[in-house]
Symmetry: D2
Subunit: 343 residues, 4 copies
């Protein structure tokens, strides 16, 4: 019998609505490179969430790393650097993609996986010996960050105010923005985010799309010539419709973006609750779709033939921290199976 | 009434077999980042065409520009340059993507859209004032090139022999390799190409896939650490299965890669024959899926409300060259409609 | 007996005034990295030539390639390209230095070694398929260009007007600006150039300095954060005084910048006149310090044991074009010796 | 009355032997771009110190940042990263020069300013999630590091052994290599270093040259095409003689490289001894030419009108750490003046 995977939130294909929409529109001829009617409509659907004042533009790309590459490199002059937490995705999981565009990452310690105003102030203070140091210019944060926590609206406001005060560009990586917004702890809306940051992206891949992320350029000054960067970095698909159609569905009648994220978070919450009920601890609060249980090594070994998950680290000699990720496609009966086997 | 588009070969979605395969496999959990069973099987299906001696590796990426970026930048040291025809796709249509990775393009004139050994020799001779000039190191050619002609096996052999003699890497951009191999004039097989070049890619996007290109690294020396480059440039999809599934279908039981390309070429041939029969000339032979008719300006204007196509250039004061592209999805009745309106 | 070299204008060390100034100031402690009093004074001396309206800044670097790298890469966003003649120094003699900073060079044919407004207009017209092509953004020209001709004031005005009309940055490489300004054909002043271009540099190396070029940033918008680029590219010397002292001398009481250039041009003119008197032709007019005689092959062979020079190309089966370069240090008796041996 | 500067070791010009040698050789014509007889002879003089087995090559460049740029970027493929201490010069003082060539810096904590094998092992262990992380490939260390300590031969051997075991390139930044080798604590020779590292450079600027650093490529595999990189990065001087002549003198009859470094170290030692005798502490041992006294704030204020130095940091509310740098040109009477004013 096969193991069931809690490894990540991209183990399955796409929500069936998306596959149906691809099929339904398949033979309609469309303009290429994102100039199709699907991308236009998808952008309008997203804009409907961004508040009346939104003056920016929306572009779709195939991958999160591409979204980060294009968003960051299009904003910066060669001597400008990025401030990020040391555990940030661009720091630790993108094979040096940002440095490959020529920019330094200035790393600071995270608090609960998150960037703080104190850390940003510290980075500015210790990177001010100009011109011998790069010029800190862009703040990178991801919501939800890798630890599964989320930023509160107050935290985002503070960082945004600091960015404006210090002339910094604020950029938000939204690979798991759906999960963050769907968190019971969340008090920020897409419109809040659009009003607070200069540029961000909304992840589709981890919330039920085959692929695709929507870059939202909020600050019009950063919009100029944006399409060149998409093309130059290899991020512009000939059949841009593929991305537009998916975001039409995610932000369509069934509101998949929210409902699929809620499902993932709910499955994670059920896992967390059950694990705690079974007498085990958690290494971090379960605010989104990731759970970090602390389990005896023997329990871990007993679970592994039946469920796939990452062993995240060692808690003590007898216990390990594992990571369980729930997704839009996680089956509740598999959650139950996990908990019953644990018990 | 809507116009019918002969603008390009990526106006529609995907062959229905591909959509069916995506749906059928949708809920099977797979490993991410190209380590899934679909990519593995697709690679094996392609390898079956590459000859017994093939020792290389196959990687899938989302776009042609990405395929060129990764293939070229992974091969070269910073001071090494690319030789390409001045009309080459990397020269004229990728927004400086290769230069953005730090490499100079040395351009030479094309003959029938193609690179010649004479032109390569000329580039080597006029770029030898070392170290004040970059070192020519990689030959870029595309088959079919932008003009719709194709390389003969003899031409490929000559260029390959020259590359080996001069220590150059030979790279083939196969955005329209399907159309080239399906041309009645073609005498080269995939196995021939794999034995003659160091690295090439097989385009899926222009032959009925939603997206996707298969990079074939023939020379094992170029394979080392290849995956890093995919990741660093943003070319690695979390759901790599999306690419694997499509190439399984293209190289599957129905041999879509060949049959769809043959259809496109046949539609182009029918257009060309009909246009010539109607008394008009062609600016270039129709060897693949592109037709370049020379039409009176008045005829062009009369066609435009009904058919979309590019006006490629001016032939004389009264005539224009237009470009018609047929695709895997081109409907024969639209070809007939075009010809009948022309007549 | 040693051969005398007419190979280039950097075969000797420095004008003795420069060596004396280095010695005289040697033990005075100075601030590092260009913040010394010599650089300040040298910049002021240069500014005195740039017209009352000059609002820009001056920076000193060690080499011409560095001056080009910093000047160009500090101005451009990643998708922006440079227009240059195909024979331009950055195209043919700097080992891909500009592409290594990520930017495409769009090359056009030269007329008398020079860029024309027609060529620029042509480059703009054929590089407008956005965003698939890079955006032409900076015009590169060098005065004097590699052929030893010079730009007239009218030519510079026309190019400048075109640049302003089309929103382009105008950059002038002045490796041999001294020779150009000292040409009998010249009608442009440093102040004219400063008013017409956005950024240019004044070469010191080829007019009697040990090393050093002065970058003049005329357009204040390009000045922001300029020092970061100098530092990042390795172009900022700890002992910036070395550059400042030399430009103090070049633009000092003895006006070495002009007088040494005039000497070089005069020696070239004497060579040219003598060669023509001896019955030989010239492949190009001698407007600066380079002479391109057309000589019988036998004469070339007879001269080679006594004088070093480049054989520039073949004129016909019996004749070659050679290049003779005169410099600030060229001895008149060696010019006479060359001419007498020729006769 | 002017203040006397202990700010750095590049406040004065050059040792008079160097100025004399420049003058003496000034009118001898030389080949350009480092192909002159001075560079050849200087390289041979350096090679005489490198041991019989030395099979590499030596190149001269104008600045330390340039030496680092060329040395590192010529060695690495795009996905490869550098391991360095967080306080390293390439990390904190070169304006992102290495990242600008596309490479990530993986930073680790220093111990006494130095990189340790433990830290390297740690960096390898935590940067192994391939291909999502860059591949650690080059170890950067500087001797003497910024703190004025030095590496022992045993430490260098251990790091070298680790590099070989793990397939890493070992690179040593020698901006203050003279001071390190002249330290009473030093037990490593140039030949030791050449046998242990793959590539290093010998700083001239901080030991009495006007400018200039000698890159020693020890590993022949890294030598191929090295000159292209020098040219491409703007690091090749037309009058390469300027660099060659200075290294002829540094490694000439008067052995300036050693004797000037010894003078600088001796002046620093005298400062340190005197400061301790006066009852003050030192924040770090004085192993080379830098002294880090801990002084009462009032004393710092009293010294500042007479001597220039950096206030390095705060020791406690009443005390500051200052940095005093002695150089080849530091006058003993100024050392005495400092100490007497301190007393």
């Amino acid at each position: 019998m096969a193991t069931y995977s809690f490894l990540d939130d991209y183990s399955e294909g796409a929500h069936p609505d998306i596959l149906r929409a691809l099929t339904a529109s398949n033979y309609v001829q469309q303009a290429p490179y994102g100039a199709d009617s699907h991308c236009e409509d998808a952008a309008n659907r997203i804009k409907a969430h961004l508040g009346e004042g939104f003056q920016g533009a929306i572009h779709f790309v195939a991958s999160g790393t591409m979204a980060n590459i294009v968003s960051i490199s299009s904003c910066l002059r060669p001597h400008e650097a990025v401030i990020a937490v040391a555990s940030g995705h661009i720091v630790m999981r993108e094979a040096g993609a940002i440095e490959a565009t020529g920019h330094k990452l200035i790393t600071v310690p995270a608090v609960d996986g998150k960037l703080t105003t104190e850390a940003i102030e510290g980075a500015l203070a210790s990177n001010a010996h100009f011109p011998h140091m790069t010029k800190p210019r862009l703040i990178y944060l991801s919501n939800a960050p890798a630890t599964g926590t989320i930023y509160t609206l107050a935290e985002l406001r503070d960082i945004s105010a600091l960015a404006k005060r210090r002339g910094l560009i604020l950029f938000l990586d939204g690979a798991r923005l759906g999960a963050a917004l769907a968190s019971p702890k969340n008090d920020a809306s897409l419109a809040d985010i659009a009003s607070l940051v200069d540029i961000f992206w909304i992840g589709g891949t981890k919330v039920g799309a085959l692929l695709g992320e929507a870059i939202v350029v909020c600050n019009p000054a950063l919009s100029e010539d944006f399409a060149f960067h998409l093309k130059q970095r290899g991020g512009m698909l000939a059949k841009g419709r593929l991305l537009g159609i998916q975001f039409q569905e995610l932000f369509g009648a069934n509101d998949l973006f929210s409902s699929l994220a809620r499902h993932a978070n709910a499955m994670a919450a059920k896992l967390a609750t059950g694990i705690v009920s079974a007498g085990h601890g958690l290494a971090a609060d379960t605010e989104t779709n990731q759970v970090f249980p602390i389990l005896p090594n023997a329990v871990v070994s007993a679970l592994q033939p039946h469920f796939a998950f990452y062993v995240w680290g060692k808690a003590d000699d007898d216990h390990a921290v594992i990571r369980l990720v729930a997704s839009w496609a996680t089956e509740e009966r598999q959650v139950d199976a996990f908990l019953s086997r644990l018990a």
